[in-house]
């Protein structure tokens, strides 16, 4: 099931690249001077002269909207921001910037920029409040030539709702990963729900020995389809759990393959959950090492 915000994000992302928007001014020495003066950058390449180049990190400054600037009508970031504003996520903070410079620019060159929405992820609990991570890709051109590009991510959040304990990935209770279970966690990192297999028998949670106790047997695994139904569940109200906002639902799901797997049922109102509810696997990325398996209600 997807939320209206996710629907809007898909629609805006599908529109692709915006029309190019020309910088207010061509690359010029006056703005370069202001910039290096403010930054304290004494690199002689930016000083006035025949071979002057603009600092590469200035690329974004050339096409900023300015003091009274309006976003273009087809700007995907603007469209996404107003949808999140309307949903109450009114504050914004930048979190990532990844700029690639294909060449340096010289005074007189006039850049234009296009924007495209890459992804919208959320809602996430963060130290600042609940919010959505919005990722865009900007490409800068001189004429038809691509001179730089950037991945830019902002957190659009509802201010004041945050608690530090609930936000830090480090605060999530981490599973103990052993030789017997590491294949499972490797799978979740790849978006696969892997189930231990002993011959024809599937077993979860995975263990060191097959059900018949054969000490010489070696396990394999299969990738589950990821669909199943709620076999049993509980609603957790108390105590507080690091990285979680209560109440939340934990469901024991019987997979179509026949084994039962435990996980949080995401975005579900406790009133809607019942035994037999069709669900599918979801994957909650905590950090590079850990992705937790979870469930969401099947549409």
């Amino acid at each position: 099931m997807s939320t209206p915000i996710e629907e809007a994000a898909r629609r805006i992302a599908a529109q692709g690249e915006s029309r190019p928007r020309l910088a207010r001014d061509p690359v010029n020495q006056a703005m370069i001077n202001n910039w290096v003066e403010a930054m304290g950058d004494a690199n002689p390449r930016y000083a006035p002269g025949e071979d002057t180049v603009a600092p590469p990190a200035m690329i974004q400054a050339w096409t900023m909207p300015g003091l009274h600037g309006q976003r273009a009508g087809d700007d995907p970031l603007g469209a996404m921001m107003s949808i999140l504003d309307d949903a109450g996520y009114t504050s914004v903070v930048a979190t990532n910037s990844e700029q690639n410079y294909h060449r340096y620019l010289r005074p007189g060159e006039h850049v234009s920029a296009t924007n495209r929405l890459e992804s919208v992820a959320g809602p996430k609990r963060t130290a600042l409040g609940e919010g959505w991570f919005v990722t865009t890709r900007t490409t800068w051109y001189v004429g038809d030539e691509v001179v730089a590009d950037m991945l830019f991510r902002v957190l659009k959040f509802r201010p004041g709702g945050g608690t530090t304990a609930a936000a830090e990935p480090a605060a999530v209770l981490r599973p103990v990963i052993s030789k017997d279970t590491e294949f499972f966690w490797e799978g979740t990192r790849l978006g696969e729900l892997r189930i231990q297999r002993w011959g024809d028998t599937l077993r979860h949670p995975p263990g060191p020995m097959p059900p018949d106790g054969d000490l010489d047997a070696k396990p394999g695994w299969v990738v589950a389809r990821g669909t199943g139904t709620v076999y049993s569940y509980l609603v957790h109200h108390h105590p507080q759990v690091p990285g979680k906002r209560t109440p939340f639902v934990v469901a024991l799901v019987e997979l179509d393959e026949g084994v039962r797997v435990l996980g949080e049922l995401l975005d579900a109102s406790p009133d809607e959950v019942h035994i037999g509810l069709p669900v599918e696997a979801a994957f909650v990325r905590v950090d590079d090492e850990l992705t937790l398996p979870a469930w969401k209600v099947r549409a």
Binding site: M31, N34, W35, E37, A38, M39, G40, D41, A42, N43, P44, R45, P55, P56, A57, M58, Q60, A61, M64, G66, L67, S91, V93, A94, T95, N96, S97, E98, Q99, N100, Y101, Y104, L128, G129, P159, G160
Partner: protein, 132 residues
């Protein structure tokens, strides 16, 4: 100059005075009020005005080219923001070379302030004749 993996860059210290926060925000043409108007910044849940991300990218560039020299070609600057850098704080940049191939090098950079890690990132540069 020759570059080898593990080389530490000389640290760079920046006093993030209100004047610094505001002049860099305006020099990058970022007119968001949280970078120049303390009352607005506080109303939006911040302690004070704070550095903008375009300035972080600029400072990371300066930190690396101060060390690598003007002939270095900066190919990419990738940063992730952690805690904010509020006016009145001091930023310290540290970095080391984490990869080298031919004339290309990758430098990993961290900038910390009194609240913790403000920026972490990597910069890729090409230094003609810089390979070890």
């Amino acid at each position: 100059m020759s570059i080898t993996v593990g080389t530490e860059l000389p640290p760079l210290t920046i006093e993030a005075t209100p004047t610094f926060v505001i002049s860099t925000a305006l020099a990058t043409r970022d007119f968001q009020d949280v970078h120049h108007d303390r009352d607005s910044a506080v109303a939006r849940g911040s302690k004070d005005i704070f550095l903008n991300i375009l300035t972080d990218t600029g400072l990371v560039q300066r930190f690396v080219t101060d060390w690598a020299g003007p002939e270095a070609f900066v190919r990419s600057i990738r940063i992730r923001l952690g805690v904010p850098c509020y006016a009145g704080d001091t930023l310290t940049f540290t970095g080391r070379v984490t990869a080298c191939e031919g004339d290309d090098a990758e430098i990993t950079v961290t900038a910390t302030d009194s609240l913790g890690e403000h920026v972490t990132g990597t910069v890729r540069i090409t230094l003609p004749g810089g390979g070890s």
